[in-house]
Amino acid sequence: MPTLAHYLVLSAVLFCIGTAGVFVRRNLITILLSIEIMLNAVNLSFVAFGRALGSVDGQIIVFFVMTVAAAEAAVGLAIVIGLFRHRESLNPDTFTSLKW
């Protein structure tokens, strides 16, 4: 029988994988996917806490996070397409012209 601790460990592991993905990967789409993993790691901890505490608040907030994630994915992918059309590249290091 998995306990709260198991869920939280899994959530932490997923969050670390997502964070590492954001830093390590050189492809904008993969980075977006990594961000989704991070968000879902957080979602997991929310529902785990909700169940452990017998409250629906955790589940409600997950719906909000999913909505925001969907919107973020839509906007993010649109920007990625725009960038790709502009530079023929998906490597974030090619988009550094917005600096001092």
Binding site: T19, F23, P92, F95, T96, S97, K99, W100
Partner: protein, 638 residues
């Protein structure tokens, strides 16, 4: 009804100032003169109403609105007509009207717009001067006081394209500011001491106190007020602006710098007679300053060659007489001299204006002479004015000046009386020196070459005063003869008594009045005789005397070097402190450097910090992550 008296000239000012550019000269003149005429008529009606009442209830007050209310302090825009202000409003509107009429001819060579501007200033001046004398409390008086100062500045600098005229305007304004500083401090102290600014309330409170023998609050108040009076009425040490004020048009000199505005200081002391009577120390100072000014200005007037400057120093000298009268407690005599002086000094200024007008701007008396045949009206009216100021009976100046000298003698100030008589001698001498140099003898040849080209036809046959000017001259000449008669038998003094309170009305013990009168007349005749000998009979003797006393002559010609001393002692130090200290030191060194330093620090900091903006998305993500970890760490472990 009282409100209309100052309001009408104000309306005239607004009309001429707003639409002056589009008005013809006739329209502008009709507006300005009409406003003064109606104002004069209302003044006469008001004074008639006042005279009809009993001496006890001789004041008419009108509270237009409540101006300032703060706690138990309340000041209304209140006008009050009493015997003292009734004398003043008649002088201001009456002589003001004549000078307006005179100006219509004198200023006729100006363009339409300038002409309207001139009359708008003149109307504005009349409005403020009437507010000054009708104001029932210190604050309303102060409004008029500042207003006439402004108009004086505007009119002295009327020909502002001329550097000397605009400088003279600034000088008048700045010197007056020093006096105003004293005046407003005196007003504040009056309020602190008496809790009211209304003249009647203050006089009533002060009357209940015993006169100060030592230097107390009332002495300080009166002394501060006297500083204000000295600034406005050109007394030592603040008289320096008045001779320079002659840069303005001559009718302005007649109205503002002879007949009305410069007498505001005398009026103000008269208005606060009860207060001054309770501060004998201040009164002594007033008398001494007045006498010293009278003598000093008289001696300077003796050697000046500019016709208007002689009259300017004569004005300063006569104002000194008025302050002498105030200082010995003869308030009514001072106001009486103010009133007669307004007639003959306005006449003399307007006469000199007619001469200057005929000679197309020439003011140097050495280039004049022999004008009596060509300018008969001007000549005869001028002689009347000169006789009046010299103090020959039955002309106006005799009555008032003799009265002042008599009251000075009777009050026991023998030294001041001697100086006063000496000044009377000087007055007669410099005035007839002016008459003889201008109207008698032969014209110096260069007078013909001096006039401007477009009016060179003037040089051959000079035109006497045109009708508008002649009317003003003749009316004023009649006034200069007859104005003194109202004072015979002390009627004038008696009329003014309610304004000065009981303290000023003390009876003068009998004195050698007739003897003193004869002395005055003999002195005046002697002065005329001296002038006649040196400048009519034996002109060379005058030059020889000037040569023999060249040191004295140089001292007097340079006006005792007072302007130079002020320049070295006050103007230059202020200049140096302002330029080297405040400008180059404080402003450039401290303020500018602080402002620029802050800007440079911000720019330098920005230069360093902008390196953080790498443009790399991953670097930003890393810093966000790091920040999140730090905040989380802080909450978990701290």
């Amino acid at each position: 009804m009282l409100l209309l008296i100052p309001l009408l000239p104000l309306v005239g000012f607004v009309l001429n100032a707003s639409f002056g550019r589009r008005l013809t000269k006739t329209a502008a003149a009709v507006i300005a003169c009409g406003a003064m005429l109606v104002s004069f008529a209302i003044s006469v009606a008001g004074v008639a109403q006042l005279v009809a009442r009993g001496p006890e209830s001789r004041f008419i007050a009108q509270r237009v609105f409540t101006w300032i209310t703060s706690g138990d302090f309340s000041v209304g825009l209140t006008l009050r007509l009493d015997p003292l202000s009734s004398v003043m409003i008649l002088v201001i509107t009456g002589i003001g009207l004549l000078i307006h009429v005179y100006s219509t001819a004198y200023m006729h060579e100006e363009t339409d717009a300038e002409y309207a501007r001139y009359f708008s200033y003149l109307n504005l001046f009349a409005a403020f001067m009437l507010v000054l004398v009708l104001g029932a409390n210190f604050l309303v008086m102060f409004v008029g006081w500042e207003g006439v100062g402004l108009c004086s500045y505007l009119l002295i600098g009327f020909w502002y394209q001329k550097q000397s005229a605009s400088d003279a305007g600034k000088k008048a304004f700045i010197v007056n500011r020093i006096g105003d500083w004293g005046f407003i401090l005196g007003v504040l102290l009056t309020f602190v001491r008496f809790g009211s600014l209304d003249f009647q309330d203050v006089a009533r409170s002060a009357a209940g106190l015993s006169p100060e023998t030592a230097f107390g609050t009332m002495s300080v108040i009166t002394l501060l007020l006297f500083v204000g009076a000295a600034g406005k009425s050109a007394q030592i040490p603040l008289y320096v602006w008045l001779p320079d004020a002659m840069e303005g048009p001559t009718p302005v000199s007649a109205l503002i710098h002879a007949a009305t505005m410069v007498t505001a200081g005398v009026y103000m002391i008269g208005r606060n007679a009860v207060l001054f009577s309770h501060a004998p120390l201040t009164l002594t100072i007033v008398a001494i300053i007045g006498t010293a000014t009278a003598l000093m200005a008289g001696t300077i007037g003796l050697v000046q060659n500019d016709i208007k400057r002689v009259l300017a120093y004569s004005t300063v000298s006569q104002l000194g007489y008025m302050f002498l009268a105030m200082g010995v407690g003869a308030y009514a005599s001072g106001i009486f001299h103010l009133y007669t002086h307004a007639f003959f000094k306005a006449l003399l200024f307007l006469g000199s204006g007619a001469v200057i007008h005929a000679l197309a701007g020439e003011q140097d008396m050495r280039k004049m002479g022999g004008l009596r045949k060509e300018l008969p009206v001007t000549y005869w009216t001028f002689v009347v004015g000169a006789v009046a100021i010299a103090g020959i009976p039955p002309f106006a100046g005799f009555f008032s000046k003799d009265e002042i000298l008599y009251r000075t003698y009777a009050s026991g100030h023998i030294v001041l009386w001697v100086v006063g008589v000496l000044t009377a001698l000087l007055t007669a001498t410099y005035m007839f020196r002016l008459v003889f140099m201008t109207f008698h003898g032969d014209r110096a040849p260069e007078a013909h070459t001096e006039p401007r080209a477009e009016v060179s036809h003037h040089a051959n046959h000079l035109h006497d005063a045109p009708p508008a000017m002649a009317v003003a001259l003749i009316v004023l000449a009649i006034g200069s003869v007859a104005a003194g008669w109202v004072g015979i038998g002390g009627r004038f003094e008696h009329f003014l008594e309610p304004s000065f309170g009981a303290t000023a009305a003390e009876a003068v013990e009998g004195g050698p009045e007739t003897t003193l009168m004869i002395v005055s007349v003999v002195v005046a005749l002697a002065g005329i005789g001296i002038a006649a000998y040196f400048f009519l009979v034996n002109r060379r003797a005058a030059d020889r005397a000037a040569l023999q006393l060249s040191g004295v002559h140089r001292l007097l010609s340079n006006k005792y070097y007072v302007d130079e001393v002020y320049d070295a002692a006050i103007v230059q130090p202020i200049h140096i402190v302002s330029e080297d200290g405040l400008w180059k030191g404080v402003d450039v060194g401290v303020i500018d450097r602080a402002v620029n330093g802050v800007a440079a620090a911000v720019a330098g900091g920005g230069d360093v910090l902008r390196r953080l903006q790498t443009g790399s998305v991953r670097a930003y993500a890393a810093s966000i992550f790091l920040g999140g970890v730090l905040i989380l760490g802080y909450f978990l472990w701290m």
